[in-house]
Symmetry: C2
């Protein structure tokens, strides 16, 4: 039913349509690619492909364009991931190497990705919950107010202010700080909750109410959406492509952290490159866009995800190559930090 030639035809249609943005017809197809058959034959194949839902014609007597399903087949079976040349790799490496602080790494990454693919790039901050505490710091602001700074081994810094129920002296803060660091340094964030549960016993009763306030803020910061920050770049690239639902919706979706989280969440959990095409994205407003994403992390396990978002009519092999390459290097940089 789907012999080799039909697959070749589908591949050719996708490639041509991506590069020209115009429905592709049988004549052009045989010219541009060296298929050794006549247009009529191709037409028969195309009829079958249409029957199966891989391509459609926008109107009678026009060329064909791929459907979401067509792109899906293309990505799954017809195209590889375009590898990067060593020159390109070096460029990535040097571009990212300049940055040490985490914010800087993320910022550069997202810009790089946007520039490489000429699409919108999205990068999720390394997830708190999979990393460990490197250090906790308490800084008195007033006598009933502390600034809590939480530093993770991925270089992330969270800051929260804590209202104390009672005034606390310098030494009581010092004591609490020492205690926290003694028990929490090096702990995975997932373990923190249970450790904190046992701490009150170690504290003199008179200090407990204040300590409790600090504890609850720590716990809050673990579950909060702060851990799920996502950065976006390259929105200008959307202006080129024209969208069915108007790009208003797309731009709107891009500003909603929650929506982006869901989008990246939907795209699987593997470290390898995954692709979600068109309506496969349940996220409203992004149903005529595709997402190419991958996990990245300092070790073997993924800390977070990054990817590019563009019209379904998108150069998947190149995008996948870029995403994979960037994810790898970011992982390396992070591991070295």
């Amino acid at each position: 039913m789907l012999d080799d030639r039909k697959l070749a035809v589908l591949r050719a249609i996708v490639e041509d349509y991506v590069s020209t943005n115009e429905p592709v017809g049988s004549k052009n197809l045989v010219d541009r690619h060296n298929l050794d058959v006549s247009p009529a034959t191709i037409r028969n194949d195309m009829a079958v492909l249409e029957e199966l839902g891989f391509i459609v014609q926008p109107h009678t007597s026009a060329g064909r364009i791929p459907t979401d399903l067509g792109y899906r087949l293309f990505v799954d079976r017809l195209s590889g991931i375009k590898p990067f040349t060593s020159a390109e790799r070096r460029a990535i490496e040097t571009f990212l190497a300049g940055a040490y602080d985490l914010d800087e790494v993320v910022m550069r990454t997202v810009r790089l990705l946007a520039q490489l693919t000429r699409q919108v790039a999205v990068v999720q901050y390394p997830s708190l919950s999979r990393s460990a505490i490197r250090h906790l710091e308490l800084v008195p602001l007033t006598d009933t107010r502390l600034l809590l700074v939480l530093i993770t081994d991925t270089g992330r810094v969270e800051q929260r202010s804590v209202e104390l129920p009672a005034p606390a002296g310098e030494d009581s803060v010092t004591h609490l700080r020492a205690l926290l660091n003694a028990y929490l340094d090096g702990r995975r964030l997932t373990e923190v909750a249970s450790v904190i549960d046992e701490l009150p016993e170690r504290i003199e009763p008179v200090e407990r109410t204040n300590a409790a306030a600090v504890f609850s803020v720590i716990l809050e910061s673990l579950v909060e959406r702060h851990e799920e920050r996502i950065v976006v770049a390259g929105a200008a690239n959307l202006a080129a492509a024209d969208f069915a639902k108007g790009l208003h919706d797309v731009l709107e979706a891009l500003e909603e952290q929650v929506v982006l989280m869901r989008l990246l969440g939907e795209s699987g959990d593997q470290a390898s490159v995954t692709v979600r095409i068109g309506a496969e994205n349940q996220v409203e407003g992004l149903q005529s866009t595709s997402l190419v994403a991958a996990g990245y992390g300092s070790g073997e396990q993924a800390l977070a995800r990054l990817g590019v978002l563009g019209p379904t009519r998108m150069d998947y092999p190149t995008a996948m190559g870029a995403v994979r390459a960037v994810a790898r290097y970011v992982g390396q940089i992070l591991a070295g930090t």
Copy 2:
């Protein structure tokens, strides 16, 4: 030359054009506003206004639309700032009140402003250089690496990592930390440089190379563009308006921190609301947009600026009202932190 009626005509043209987005003609003008003269009279007035460069007709025998100069006159002399109702004020207040941490305040502010005006909102982080150091913290990461955390009295936290030329022990770090806080806490950031200059004398020679590394990072973080971060929201609102140069350029400009800085910088330094219209913005790509901006701050002096950006065809009175109101409340919130 510019009698009252001509000014009234200009005002009417601006108002109508802003609300309809279509060139406005003499007939419609007398209908909608109750000018007690005939269309012919208005036509004469319009001819004069065109002569003076306040309005133009897109093509012969079409209505008139305001020029940048026309909007300028409108803003300067013909329109007030639309005050907010007390209900609206309360809404702003409660929306902003929920946030304590600085990031949160800025984030909410920019979203609020975008929503109120249905334009793009830009908010600059409170400038470091005008605030003072509340606390410095040094956290050992490895024995040749420190994390420097700098906390200002505006609630801002800067983090940088420091590479040490030589391994440093726990106590040497503690000592340095104490020294830094003793001499720097409470200092305006502008004073820091000179204070640091004198510090090496207080340090034992063997520690000086390490201390110097820390010092240079502190100084760096003062001059760096970090202090100039700008947040943007509401880009989706641009999709509605159509731009001469295509919105690609506008979106691109919005992603360039540097460009935005220049834009806000151009817009004067006063705390009060200022407006830059169309080509008055030298920034490339934003010459068909207008900026309504104001300074905000915790005390009497402005710490930074915020504003909204939209097409020159924009509801200035409302935008100015929103910017002024939001700037005020942000100032209050910040003062209370």
